[in-house]
């Protein structure tokens, strides 16, 4: 999910802690913000630290003004063949680079692993903006658009679609030699590993508790972190929940898509509504003047139903109907290919469009309905615990 969604989730669970909320309202402490900070921290660790310290065994960095897709395909196929010669359990990592043409213009290309034909297929695409919008008339001629190279081993790649390399920094691939002799493609191997494990959450919570001697500090750190992991597990790409005991990512539950604006907006709105609920509940300790009588009288179940579930069900029905109607239509920016922009400034939007939503891939098989229902069940249990025990924390 998007960064703000994670941050708001962390803040929301923090507001269930009565001592933190009342402390914040009485200007005694700002510990409540730890919920948001640790709610976002897993992605901060992955995309601001681990991405840089990941080893790079091979690098794809083509010349954007002289794209040679055949070279790229051959280099990737050579890496797969190289991995085939390695011992089981070993991995080679390949870093691809994006190709910047101007302040908001990139040369796109895509990489596909065709398992049936055992070949790597590289396709050079049009120029695109930061948001991934292609520019008309910038596609290369057919003879310079495709590259194909064969590899030898059996390849495991559940994703089954081409990976597009466009804005931001390029994705990396891990080629893992398995015990059965096949080579598995691991998409962005640094992501959702140690930085997205419950192990790290427990470690941070323990450190927080020991440093302050206040158990609520450890509690709010763990709660914020757990909500991040839980929310990510609802997507397609899973987490490595118990690193370092577990070596690989588990599958996501395929309940939501990280880049979907509806789910992000729904999650953020729900968080705000629940924060308001907690404000109303705990403001009574500060002054009854800051409470709203009708909210208190509704009770949590009716409040959630009327303020969150009913309006968002209606909005969701409208959104998904519209989406179904416009499926397959793709936005184009009507820009000519140019690299000159007045002011020579980077787009401020570069900080808004987040890279992670490019990384929502179907790496593993979709899990059974049991596991998916269990995921929702765990979230409900967490919320029930927060509602039931938050006022005593």
């Amino acid at each position: 999910m998007r960064g703000l969604t994670h941050f708001m989730m962390g803040m929301m669970v923090a507001t269930f802690f009565k001592s933190l909320m009342v402390g914040a309202a009485m200007q005694d402490s700002l510990l409540i913000i730890l919920g948001g900070v640790f709610g976002l921290l897993p992605d901060t660790l992955d995309f601001k630290f681990l991405v840089y310290v990941e080893p790079q065994d091979a690098v794809i960095d083509p010349d954007p003004h002289n794209m040679n897709p055949q070279d790229i395909a051959e280099k990737i196929a050579a890496e797969i063949n190289h991995t085939d010669q390695m011992e089981p359990g070993k991995m080679r990592r390949l870093q691809t680079h994006t190709l910047k043409l101007g302040p908001d213009l990139w040369q796109s290309y895509s990489i596909n692993f065709n398992k049936a034909k055992r070949q790597v297929e590289v396709k050079v695409g049009p120029h695109v903006t930061m948001s991934g919008m292609p520019a008309f008339g910038t596609e290369p001629p057919t003879d310079k658009a495709f590259g194909v190279a064969r590899y030898n081993p059996k390849l495991i790649d559940v994703y089954g679609r081409a990976t597009e390399v466009k804005g931001f920094s390029g994705p990396s691939f891990g080629f893992l030699k398995r015990k059965d002799g096949a080579v598995e493609v691991v998409f962005i191997p640094f992501h959702r590993r140690s930085g997205h494990s419950m192990t790290m959450g427990f470690v941070f919570a323990l450190i927080g508790w020991l440093l302050t001697g206040v158990w609520q500090v450890g509690g709010v750190i763990l709660a914020g972190w757990t909500m991040h992991i839980a929310l990510d597990s609802f997507g397609h790409l899973g987490n490595n929940l118990f690193w370092p005991v577990m070596k690989q990512r588990t599958s996501g539950l395929y309940l939501v898509s990280a880049s979907n604006p509806y789910w992000n907006a729904f999650a953020i709105y729900s968080c705000i509504a629940l924060i308001f609920w907690n404000m109303n509940m705990y403001n009574a300790s500060v002054s009854p003047a800051y409470t709203v009588a009708w909210m208190t009288s509704l009770g949590p179940a009716l409040y959630i139903l009327s303020v969150i579930l009913i309006p968002w069900s209606i909005l969701g029905a409208i959104y998904f109907t519209y989406r179904k109607k416009t499926k397959g239509q793709r936005s184009y920016e009507l820009f000519a290919s140019t690299t000159e922009v007045a002011g020579a400034a980077e787009p401020e939007s570069a900080g808004i469009v987040e890279q992670e939503h490019y990384y929502e891939v179907d790496e593993k098989q979709k899990p059974s309905m049991f596991w998916r229902a269990l995921g929702i069940g765990i979230l409900i249990v967490i919320m029930v615990i927060l509602f039931a025990y938050g006022p005593t924390w």
């Binding site: 703000l4 994006t98 931001f168 308001f276 409470t291 920016e333 922009v341 939007s349 808004i352």
Partner: protein, 508 residues
């Protein structure tokens, strides 16, 4: 009949505000001065004056989009979408960019209309619930914006892990440095008024102009871009979904920023863009127009909402000193003025944009940037150094300052190449210092011997703010960090945490 007269006053405000907003460097606060001038010149009641204020505000918001697009002069609210607008300008579609952002503003006005009947129910609840929590909401917002900034290395090519980490953190650490430096500036300027007490309300002007105006103008001068021929048509490229997502995102962000104290339009729009997944230039432009409108008008709107009377943002606060709405009918008069004012200002925007698009290519962009740079510095000097607020003296000061600076800057540009080739940088630097001293000497003799110290102080603030404002451009980090940092001391103050820092820093 009385209502109609008030609406006509708001239309006059739109016309005056719209025409003035085309001038570079004008800010909404400058309009208050013009409004007071009109008030003094004409016998008006206070409600009529507030209608003029509202009209000028709307004119500034909507017609001011011309300044951002054609002259490349963003402020905090327009910086958010200055890039896509400038990009379209360079593709010969500046007029289209202006209209798209203008449609965003109109959509925000429509959403405000829809919200109006519910406003006296909804906003008092928000106010009641959030009042004890404002400080941590604000500090949490800043924390998120700092923590969520994305590295701008675009895939480091460094061979070592440390090298890549260093590349990735170059923009992030610069962003934090911008925040920290702006925060220190905030602590100093907000606790020790650099300007004389009678000019203290202008403390913010050199800061904002330095952060956004001068730094951007300098980059425009360096980039040496040329504006291509502009196509002026009646067609625009906008998808329904882009319109819906962009306008709703901008409106939400603008209203959040308007409702919360201290938060400005830029961070508000950024948050809502994150929340709603805004993507694509069209959405950013629509969202920018909508957010700017929602922020400025929304802040004023809260003063008029029955049972709320919330004073937020500059115009709301200044107006509340003179006038407090008392009956509900005034709220609906206010809404009617918004509806008519927005429609009128949009027509004015399209009319002026078409004409400017035709002449803009005939102007040397560098020369234009130079003129704008001179005028905005002239404005800062004029407002800071003029010892009394005689409007004619103020205008004369600004014009003379801008004229002198223009000549000075122009000569400097020519000197740069010459001196660097002939004598190297030290001589060149001496020439710059000499030029600046000469400028102050002439200014002092001509106009304001009494206010020159304040003027120099304002120039020092402007220079420091420009230095900080250049950092986001050169290190590709978030510009928002400037104002977030500058206002962070206020947030700490709300949380009861600033006193200790102020004492430690010795700025009291």
């Amino acid at each position: 009949m009385e209502t109609l007269i008030y609406l006509i006053y708001s239309m006059i405000g739109v016309l005056v505000g719209g025409l003035f907003s085309v001038l570079p460097g004008m800010h909404v606060l400058n309009f208050v001065g013009i409004g007071v001038f009109i008030y003094l010149a004409l016998p008006l009641d206070v409600l009529a004056l507030t209608m003029i204020f509202l009209g000028m505000l709307i004119g500034y918001i909507v017609v001011g989009l011309i300044q951002t697009t054609y002259m490349g002069l963003p402020d905090d609210s327009t910086r958010y979408f200055a890039f896509p607008n400038q990009k379209l300008l360079m593709y010969g579609r500046g007029h289209e960019a202006v209209v798209v952002a203008g449609i965003g503003a109109v959509s925000a006005a429509l959403m405000l209309m829809m919200l109006a009947p519910l406003s006296s129910t909804i906003f008092p609840i928000f106010r009641r619930l959030t009042t004890p929590h404002l400080h941590w909401i604000l500090i949490g917002t800043v924390t998120y914006l700092l923590q969520s900034e994305w590295p701008k290395d675009w895939g480091s090519r460094a061979k070592t892990r440390f090298g890549r980490l260093k590349d990735g953190w170059a923009s992030l650490s610069a962003g934090w440095a911008v925040f920290f430096l702006s925060m220190m500036m905030g602590f100093i300027i907000m606790n020790i008024s650099i300007l004389a007490p009678q000019r203290a309300f202008q403390n913010l002007m050199p800061v904002v102009v330095g952060f956004f105006g001068v730094s951007y103008m300098l980059m425009n001068l360096i980039s040496r871009a040329k504006i291509p021929e502009q196509k002026v048509g009646n067609d625009i490229y906008m998808k329904k979904m882009d319109f819906l997502r962009g306008s709703s995102s901008g409106f939400l962000g603008g209203m959040f920023a308007a409702f919360e104290p201290v938060v400005t339009a830029g961070p508000g729009m950024k948050l809502s863009a994150h929340a709603t997944g805004t993507s694509g230039d069209s959405q950013f432009m629509i969202s920018g127009g909508a957010g700017r409108f929602a922020y400025y008008v929304g802040g004023f709107f809260f003063l008029w909402v029955p049972l709320l009377h919330l004073t937020r943002k500059a115009l709301g606060m200044i107006t509340s000193l003179m006038y407090q709405p008392t009956v509900e009918s005034e709220f609906w008069l206010f809404m009617a003025a918004i509806a008519m004012g927005t429609a009128f200002s949009f027509i004015l925007l399209v009319f002026l944009s078409k004409r400017i698009a035709k002449v803009i290519t005939k102007i040397n962009f560098q020369m234009l940037s130079l003129i704008l740079l001179s005028v905005i510095i002239g404005l800062v000097w004029g407002f800071s150094a003029t010892s009394d607020y005689n409007p004619l003296l103020l205008v004369a000061t600004i014009l003379i300052t801008a004229g002198l600076l223009f000549v000075g800057f122009n000569a400097l540009l020519r000197l740069i190449d010459h001196l660097r080739r002939r004598s190297g940088w030290p001589i060149y630097l001496l020439a710059v210092i000499g030029m600046v001293l000469l400028f102050f000497a002439v200014e002092t003799l001509l106009l304001q011997p009494g206010g020159v110290i304040e003027g120099i102080r304002a120039m020092i603030i402007l220079t420091i703010a420009t230095g900080i404002g250049l950092m986001p451009l050169t290190f590709r980090t978030m510009w928002t960090n400037t104002l977030l940092g500058y206002f962070f001391p206020l947030m700490l103050n709300m949380a009861g945490l600033s006193a200790g820092i102020v004492v430690t820093l010795g700025v009291y």
